[in-house]
């Protein structure tokens, strides 16, 4: 099947388009080298976690849906690096990255995928429901778009409590067509709620490309109808993403002004593990793989003077961690049947 030519993904920095000029809050606080390395580590960890998950799915260790984030890692990393650890976030079912980057250890991560009692949500939620509330990661949600009013509500609560936080609410490009999202947009702007709707535009809603599901394809423009700020940025480059994320986050935090932040990215794998991806060509995928977010950041870090052997050591450590986590998860018990009836009511 023919696919239309997609926008290229240059490693551009900052916003490529917006509905109004971005505010100028001066330079973004510098991320020390250790911090940058840590974000690199988290992106790499996510990639390796999901490569292992991919194998585990194929060998039958994982049932149900499993939506991989391969190729999109700079979206979660860059945005999460642009806000404080105490800022709440919430996302859809493509949630491994956000979970791991917000403190879920790979062990409980795998254990969840494998349906074990030691899973991060006790085997009750699976791949689509990575929660880590103690680190302000509020899930992992399976109904498309249904997390958008939740993110609004988390942000509302921080404002109600006078906390000066911002909530990043992530969603796919396909989710912009859910009515609840629009209700959330109007409420956010009307009530001045510090929430940023981060659209992870990977150009497909399952097998439906953006131009076949949304009018127009510039999704950040949906903000315009609400007098809200809408921003689009390329999102394969961690630093570029972090910068634009920080700006819209600060705006939300300081001025209680919400925004849509549309981040252009690409997923290498099928929509979920069961999707053969017949709706796009191998060439298209290969083209995008050339702008791999992890490769881009690796190159940047090396060029900034980190020694390659130090990076390799870090990577090796991650790979070992993944193997061990996988094995730990596999050795974990399945939940007891009595667990069916717990956690229904508080």
């Amino acid at each position: 099947m023919a696919t239309t030519k997609k926008t290229p993904l240059p490693n551009g920095a900052g916003a490529t388009a917006s509905t109004e000029p971005l505010p100028d809050y001066g330079p973004i606080p510098e991320l020390p080298r250790s911090g940058r390395l840590e974000w690199y580590r988290l992106m790499y960890l996510t990639r390796k976690f999901e490569e292992r998950a991919y194998q585990s799915y194929q060998t039958g260790l994982i049932g149900g849906f499993c939506h991989l984030y391969n190729g999109q890692e700079a979206v979660a990393a860059g945005t999460l690096a642009g806000i404080a650890d105490s800022d709440p976030v919430v996302t859809a079912y493509r949630d491994h990255a956000h979970g791991l980057m917000r403190g879920i250890n790979p062990g409980p991560g795998f254990a969840e995928l494998y349906g074990r009692a030691t899973g991060i949500v006790k085997g009750k939620g699976g791949s689509m429901h990575f929660f880590n509330v103690e680190r302000q990661m509020w899930g992992g949600h399976g109904i498309v778009g249904a997390q958008s009013p939740l993110g609004l509500g988390l942000a509302f609560a921080t404002k109600y409590l006078g906390e000066k936080k911002v909530c990043f609410c992530y969603m796919g490009d396909g989710a912009v067509n859910q009515g609840g999202f629009h209700e959330a947009l109007n409420l956010a702007q009307l009530w001045k709620i510090p929430v940023v709707f981060v659209i992870e535009n990977n150009m497909y809603s399952m097998g439906t490309s953006v131009e076949r599901h949304a009018a127009p394809v510039e999704l950040y423009k949906r903000a315009a109808g609400y007098g809200m700020l809408g921003v689009r940025a390329q999102a394969q480059d961690f630093d570029a993403v972090r910068e634009v994320a920080w700006t819209v986050a600060e705006r939300a935090r300081r001025e209680n002004l919400p925004a849509i932040l549309e981040l252009m990215t690409y997923r290498y794998r099928g929509h979920s593990m069961s999707d053969p991806g017949a709706y796009r060509t191998k060439d298209e995928v290969e083209e995008y793989r050339k702008h791999d977010p992890i490769e881009i950041m690796r190159g940047r870090i090396l060029s900034e003077g980190t020694a390659e052997k130090d990076l390799e050591a870090l990577e090796e450590k991650v790979r070992r961690e993944i193997v061990e986590a996988h094995e730990w998860a596999l050795a974990s018990p399945f939940p007891q049947l009595s667990e069916i009836y717990t956690d229904i009511y508080a």
Binding site: P149, L150, G153, G179, D343, I344
Partner: protein, 324 residues
Amino acid sequence: MAKIAYRDAVRDAMAEEMERDSRVFLTGEEVAQYNGAYKCSKGLLDRFGPDRIIDSPISEAGFSGLCIGAAMYGLRPIAEFMTFSFSFVAFDQIVNNAAQIRYMSGGQVKIPIVFRGNSGGGHQIGATHSHAPENIYATFPGLKVVVPAFAADAKGLLKSAIRDDNPVLVIENEALYGRESEVPDGEYLTPIGKANILQDGVDLTIVTHGRSAWTVLEANQELLKMGIRAEIVDLRSIKPLDWPTVFASVRKTHKLVCVDETKPFCGVSAQVAAEVQRACFDHLDAPILRVTSVEAPMPFSSALEDDCIPNVARIIEAVKEVIG
């Protein structure tokens, strides 16, 4: 004990709980400046200010979801539906998010939220506006559903609901807002999950709830004249449902009529009948009969509508048939 209107009991419950806990807030359409479409929040804007009494646009999915998110974060929202019929545009938020996020998060999250608003027919507001949805919501594990019939329970159950750490649907009834009944003085809570025996009896059990409880009491005047002494059980809570009280009553009277305003097909009465025949099989002397809303959308004309919800005539007919 003072006699107050049901709507004032609702208001008092919210006011007392908002006074007690600053995390409680109220939103919904017309709840603030208008004092509530049915005046259930009269004076609350003046008392608690616009940060806690918040007029919403007509965005039920949006404000329901907002409240669920806020509840996850630790607030204790009260979301008012102008009527529960309008909750259907927020259905997914209620039955998937409010009901199930705790479970799907492996218990990491609590969702202390109250959804409240009126329900039911009898006011000529037509098929879309007259739903009695307690059966529908009660089918979902993770939700609690209460349907107060009297001012005392309207207050006590709503207070309990606000303090409950789970999503609780408090389904009121437009016909009841203006009705006065006695309310205990001072602070009290009505426990969720406890039925209330409105009248002891021996001849049969009538299980009812909500507005139908009043209709049953009205019918009861006739029954008493006929020398029939019914045990009248007001469920108050639909979920959890107080089975011990229901079963004990049926084991005593050996006969049961269920009266409520949900539809017949998979309505609350179906659940009660199914459980009672199982638990009280050997005690039952007659088939359980059900008096429900009829199997039709709610018509507008008053000439038709009165026959569509349980009324005195249909209750008496059912009782007579069961008594034999």
